[in-house]
């Protein structure tokens, strides 16, 4: 078997375990009921240990073993939880993560891992038991005695299953009758020899009653090296039967059986009693002995998942998406040809094909949707670390974890959100003393939420910090010539435009005073390349809210096709509110500017022709208007003609990065012609 086949699986699953582990650590730190998180942490580390040992990743295996031993002490209450220990455990989770990423076969503990282990042991007061090394004979004695000591303090336990009670007599050794003396030698390669020895003893109990065993059964049971031992039992079984029973327990090198018809003279009551006493020193779960399955499963129902899952490599899903994208384009072209040919049979087949391709597209898009929780779950840890580093108290709440986004959108969104969270903790939320002085609770509230809004998803980061200092931003913006010197007040839109300027946002003094700005430009450009938009609202002393609006999927979006002159443009529906034909009365002049009067609203009017800087053409007979919106802002966009709606496949478009803010990408239309995708949000 070649374990390298399993390397990917190992990493993927270890990452999942780590993320669950970090969640549990946070829950533990927040003082939630102690047992569940500790159990979850223990299980995660245990699973990683098992997998890494299988892969031959020695460092991770050894590290997780040490960690597991310590956690076991926490679990049993032997080791108390302190703030220092929590910090050390977080550090251990990080070290484990690094270790997993760097894992190689037969590797040794990295210096970082060693440091973390030392710290853990320091904090925990002495070394955790190192059972992983138990296999080494030199340590066997220590462990054995510890094991026996533990046995000594076990409370009275229920009768063992299938042990003494199932023997031929339940009332102690028989006073007379045939006996057998067996000498057993275990194979040198035996793993967990104690268990094998125990199994041998158990098989023998099925054939008779044990009179004595040298060493005693509990010593055998605790053995960590292969044993040679003697068992004396009262039995009427034959030699062959006894030998078969012993061998059936596995890993037996030699068995010799000596039968005797004489009654045993020396009985070792201590050994017998010990043999009958099961080891209940440790339990995996706290399910009571008497519990039946029903009560256990009732307790466990919330976790039970019924759907079946198959793991697929992400690249396969991406390939499927590319293919369906191409197929959608071809479908458009076929549709056009079919309409031109006007053959009823062809049209019918085309209708079916269109429906099937549509269904296929929905299925593929749906299969790519992932709950945002998958990414959001990483953030509590991050916020905690940043807050601790800065000496701030932060209460993070996450809402809408179940909202789904396309995998690729989700991957892209992580970094901007991290930016916003860091900003909020660093520049938005005040220090506890400052908050207290201004009558706020010491702990700042930070909310990260996701919600669905028609065909888009809103991701919001909200803090109750000091807000952005508009006056300072205004001063800087005037200095830098971003706004007219006469400006007296920055509204939210202008404020965002200002702080999203690289020049202003990186200016240190503004960052320090204004409370925000670091990297907003980076966030905005990233969000824009995704076809999304950014909104900011802030109130001095009350807090700041940043909202990212995203399309649910990046790859295929529904768009309006608009013609201006001979050019065609795609307008994604994400920001389109409605469309209308231009009636003479709809556009009016107010103070020399065109405005659109829509019901009781007056909206500014933009002409796509001007926006894309096409030369003025002949005034068309009739124009059409697209009402676009972003947040509360709306405008009318005048185009020569709307030629239809189409699912477009977004191709990334490098020019966007160079500051060509107007277009968010390019696409191939169903007739094969290329078209630019207008970033409607940027027009507002």
């Amino acid at each position: 078997m070649d374990p390298s086949r399993y390397a990917d699986l190992f990493r993927t699953e270890s990452r999942e375990q780590l993320s669950a582990l970090n969640r549990a650590l946070l829950a533990l730190e927040q003082g939630e009921a102690m047992r569940e998180p500790v159990d979850a942490i223990f299980r995660g580390v245990h699973t990683i240990k098992g997998m890494s040992a299988t892969m031959g990743y020695t460092a991770v295996a050894e590290f997780s073993h040490e960690l597991e031993s310590l956690l076991d002490k926490v679990r049993t209450g032997e080791q108390g939880l302190t703030a220092e220990l929590m910090d050390a455990l977080f550090a251990a989770a990080d070290a484990l993560e690094d270790g997993i990423e760097a894992a190689r076969e037969d590797d040794a503990l990295s210096p970082a891992m060693k440091r973390v282990l030392e710290r853990l042991h320091d904090v925990a007061g002495g070394r955790a038991t190192a059972e992983f090394r138990v296999a080494r004979p030199s340590e066997a004695f220590r462990v054995t005695s510890e094991f026996s000591a533990a046995l000594g303090v076990v409370d009275a336990t229920p009768a063992p299953v299938g042990a003494a009670a199932s023997g031929p007599t339940a009332s102690g050794p028989t006073a007379s009758g045939p006996t057998a003396k067996l000498r057993v030698v275990q194979s040198a390669s035996t793993l967990l020899p104690g268990v094998r020895a125990f199994m041998i003893v158990q098989r023998l109990r099925e054939l008779g009653e044990i009179i004595a065993s040298t060493p005693s059964v509990d010593v055998l049971q605790a053995a960590t090296t292969p044993q040679r031992f003697e068992v004396h039992l009262s039995t009427s079984a034959g030699a062959a039967e006894l030998e078969r029973a012993v061998r059936s327990a596995g890993d037996v090198d030699e068995v010799t059986v000596a039968l005797s018809a004489i009654a045993p003279t020396a009985i070792a009551p201590a050994a017998v009693a010990a043999a009958a006493r099961p080891d209940f020193r440790r339990r995996v779960t706290d399910v009571d002995e008497g519990d039946d399955l029903t009560s256990t499963s009732e307790r466990a129902t919330p976790v039970a998942a019924r759907t079946r899952h198959v793991r697929i490599e992400l690249s396969r899903l991406d390939a499927l998406l590319d293919l369906i994208g191409e197929l959608v384009i071809v479908r458009g072209r076929l549709g056009a040809i079919t309409r031109a040919l006007a053959l009823p049979a062809l049209q019918e087949a085309m209708t079916d094909a269109t429906r099937l391709i549509g269904d296929l597209q929905t299925e593929i898009m749906t299969s790519r949707l992932v709950p945002v929780g998958q990414v959001f779950d990483r953030f509590p840890r991050l916020v905690r670390d940043v807050a601790r580093q800065l000496g701030k108290d932060v209460l993070l709440s996450i809402e809408g974890k179940e909202i789904e986004l396309d995998r690729s959108v989700l991957d892209e969104i992580a970094e901007p959100v991290v930016h916003l969270l860091r900003n909020a903790v660093d520049h938005g939320l005040e220090l506890p003393e400052v908050r207290e002085a201004t009558g706020k609770p010491r702990a700042g509230r930070l909310t990260l939420s996701a919600q669905r809004d028609r065909s888009s998803v809103l991701v919001t980061v909200r803090d109750d910090g000091k807000g952005i200092d508009r006056a300072r931003v205004l001063t800087r913006a005037i200095e830098l010539g971003m706004v007219a010197p006469s400006t007296v007040q920055l509204d939210d839109e202008t404020l965002l435009r200002c702080i999203a300027q690289p020049g202003l946002s990186t200016a240190e003094q503004v960052t320090d005073v204004s409370g925000r700005g670091v990297g907003i430009d980076a966030v905005q450009s990233r969000v824009r390349t995704m076809g999304g938009s950014l909104e900011v609202s802030t109130e001095s002393g009350v807090g700041t809210t940043v909202t990212i609006r995203l399309p649910v999927t990046l790859a295929i979006v529904r768009a309006l096709l608009a013609r201006v002159g001979n050019e065609r443009y795609a307008l994604p529906l994400t920001h389109v509110r409605e469309t209308m034909e231009r009636m003479p009365a709809t556009i009016r002049q107010v103070q020399g500017r065109d405005v659109l009067v829509l019901r009781d609203e007056v909206l500014p009017v933009l002409r796509l022709r001007d926006v894309v800087r096409l030369p003025p053409g002949q005034e068309p007979v009739m124009e059409e208007i697209v009402v676009i919106e972003r947040g509360d802002r709306r405008a009318g966009l005048v185009v020569d003609e709307l030629t239809g709606q189409e699912d477009i496949v977004v191709k990334s478009y490098d020019a966007v990065r160079d500051g060509m803010a107007l277009f968010s990408g390019a696409t191939i239309l169903s007739d094969g012609a290329p078209a630019l995708i207008v970033d409607v949000a940027s027009l507002l």
């Binding site: 699986l9 699973t47 997998m51 299953v161 104690g194 158990q202 995996v284 466990a300």
Partner: protein, 120 residues
Amino acid sequence: MAPTVLICDDAIFMRTMVGDILTQAGFEIVGEAETGVQAVEKYRLLRPDLVTMDIVMPDMGGIDAVRAITKLDPNAKVLMCSAMGQQSLVVEAIQAGAKDFVVKPFQPSRVLEAVQRVLG
């Protein structure tokens, strides 16, 4: 007919590996379980010839699952999968009715030996 197996482990990694070893040896994997509760439910449904059972699982540990399975079917053949350092737990599992055990990291030959012993 190939002997049927139910694999119980909370790690996909481990299930895949055990599954590969047993499939190559001609067994038919009829089910997988991620928790003790699932293991018992699937045992009830599938009645496999062999069960491989991890000790540490969420929901209900492997030992309690063995206990429940043995109660359902006294002849159930359960093979425990253990990590190093779980000696006392394996003993407990055997007392609970498991027939044999293997130790992680798995060596295919050892897994198959244990399986042969269990199936007799």
